[in-house]
């Protein structure tokens, strides 16, 4: 039977009292992402030739593309961020952005308008990103 008066956690706890916290104060202190980390898809309308490879290869069917209408759209909430579209794009029109503000959360608009802080930290309500040339 272990000694109930032994406190193996105590030194650690005392040290924690004197050291800085392991967590960050999120909105004011944002964790830097590493190089090459995956994030949300960014689209460059200037270089895209609407070949539709990205739409065909997307495992989540998040990308809609039409060659005739010169139309490209992504549903960010469906996108699983697997990087397949970025890899298959011949014209480098697609890239991954690690911008941490671009989390899209469905906005709830009440009678008084949007919730405070919503615009600042969650971007705008999720509209499919549409590009038309």
């Amino acid at each position: 039977m272990a000694n109930p008066f032994r406190l193996p956690m105590a030194p650690r706890t005392i040290r924690n009292l004197l050291s800085r916290p392991a967590t960050r104060r999120y909105p004011t202190e944002i964790r830097p992402r590493f190089d090459g980390a995956r994030g949300t898809i960014k689209f460059d309308v200037e270089t895209c030739v609407y070949c539709m490879i990205c739409a065909r290869r997307c495992p989540a069917a998040a990308i809609t593309c039409s060659r005739d209408e010169r139309y490209w759209a992504i549903e960010h909430l469906t996108c699983i961020g697997c990087n397949v579209c970025v890899e298959v794009c011949n014209k480098n029109s697609l890239s991954m952005s690690t911008d941490s503000k671009s989390v899209h959360v469905r906005a709830e608009v009440g009678p008084e308008g949007q919730r405070p802080g919503h615009e600042e930290w969650h971007g705008v309500a999720p509209q499919p990103v549409v590009a038309k040339a």
């Binding site: 272990a2 000694n3 193996p8 995956r38 961020g81 397949v84």
Partner: protein, 361 residues
């Protein structure tokens, strides 16, 4: 005696994921438990019929957020064996390095959850703080913290440079030292012993009878580990599975703690033995459509996982099936819950390391 039925779950403070156990009690003793699953079924296995086999690997990874790398790896190994693809050496080594790293993060996550279940919240936070460092390694090397998406049929998408591998090993050594201090708490704290020692004992015979897998079986002294088959280059490593004989909740904690140290040691050996150099091939181009069927076995952090893949010569697979370790351990869990006190049920359920997302897919 009058019987009482208490529904345990789907929402319960100790359960990270939804599972229901209808506990039938006589006084404070559990006499029977009836499990119900089906709360997070997503139909991932049926998705193979409409997602191309090359892209399905990224979906398979999303079966579970903890063993995500191993799921992707298992799927790719199955397809590679159907299509007879020779994977470059460095890619094979990189795969098992990532696999062992994900075993460390899974065990750290579980140790934290276990600590939370027996009411030691401070320890829970320490374990998860250490896990953050592993997630940083993942983000640096694969691009994602939880979902890595580096496995592709024929190899891996990203390389880890030799200097970075050395840095990772140094970081893991540092983590190992910090982990030893935390492990000492698990081993010597009186309250932990009081809650776990002698609770939910699964003998070796019982473990064999209910076909327990992974740390659950090894804590009962069953020498069962898919890595022992020597596949995926494990035959080139010095490896002996961690065994405990007590079979109680504490033994299952100890097995997982020792496996964290073992995985760090294995990564050391892997980095020493893998082919070094810049620009080594990482991928074999895969051509054509798969045709045939195969089984693949892998040792995930929670135990043995089996994948069955059947392909019919088109770009869509005919059948994909994953038998996950939690599914194999549910009979053992039900066996342990019968006869224990109601207060011990959360600990027993947690010590099988349940992953309901895996089980239901």
């Amino acid at each position: 005696m009058k019987r009482t039925v208490i529904p345990f779950g789907p929402q319960h403070p100790v359960l990270p994921e939804p599972i229901v156990l209808d506990l039938i009690l006589e006084d404070e003793k559990v006499v029977d438990a009836i499990p119900t699953i089906g709360y997070i079924h997503r139909g991932l296995e049926a998705m193979v019929e409409r997602v191309e086999y090359t892209e399905m690997g990224f979906v398979v990874e999303r079966i579970c957020g903890i063993c995500s790398f191993m799921h992707g790896m298992g799927y790719c190994l199955a397809l590679e064996s159907i299509m007879n693809v020779e994977v470059p050496d460095r890619a094979r080594w990189l795969r098992i390095i990532w696999a062992e790293t994900s075993r460390i993060q899974s065990h750290l996550l579980w140790l934290g959850l276990g600590a939370d279940a027996f009411g030691f919240e401070n320890l829970f936070m320490h374990c998860w703080r250490m896990r953050e460092e592993i997630l940083d390694i993942f983000e640096k090397t694969t691009g994602g913290r939880i979902i890595h998406s580096v496995n592709r049929i024929g190899g891996v998408k990203r390389d880890i440079s030799d200097s970075e591998l050395v840095a990772i090993v140094a970081k893991l050594d540092e983590l190992g030292k910090a982990f030893d201090k935390t492990a000492r708490v698990f081993a010597s704290d009186a309250s932990i012993r009081h809650r776990l020692s002698g609770v939910g004992v699964l003998s070796m015979e019982e473990a064999r009878a209910v076909d327990a897998v992974g740390p659950m079986a090894r804590a009962s002294g069953v020498r069962l580990d898919t890595r022992l088959t020597g596949q995926n280059l494990y035959d080139q490593l010095e490896f002996e599975p961690v065994l405990e004989t007590a079979g109680d909740c504490l033994a299952r904690v100890v097995v997982r703690m020792r496996e964290v140290r073992q995985s760090i040691d294995l990564i050391h050996q892997m980095v020493e033995k893998m082919p070094k150099g810049e620009g080594l091939p990482l991928e074999t181009k895969v051509r054509g459509m798969p045709s045939g069927e195969t089984f693949t076995r892998l040792e995930q952090p929670r135990g043995e996982v089996v994948y069955y893949v059947k392909a019919n010569g088109t770009k869509y697979l005919e059948r994909f099936r994953a038998r996950t370790p939690t599914f194999a351990n549910v009979p053992a869990m039900i066996k342990l819950v019968k006869g224990c006190d109601l207060a011990d049920v959360p600990n027993i359920i947690l010590t099988i390391d349940p992953c309901i997302s895996c089980t239901e897919r």
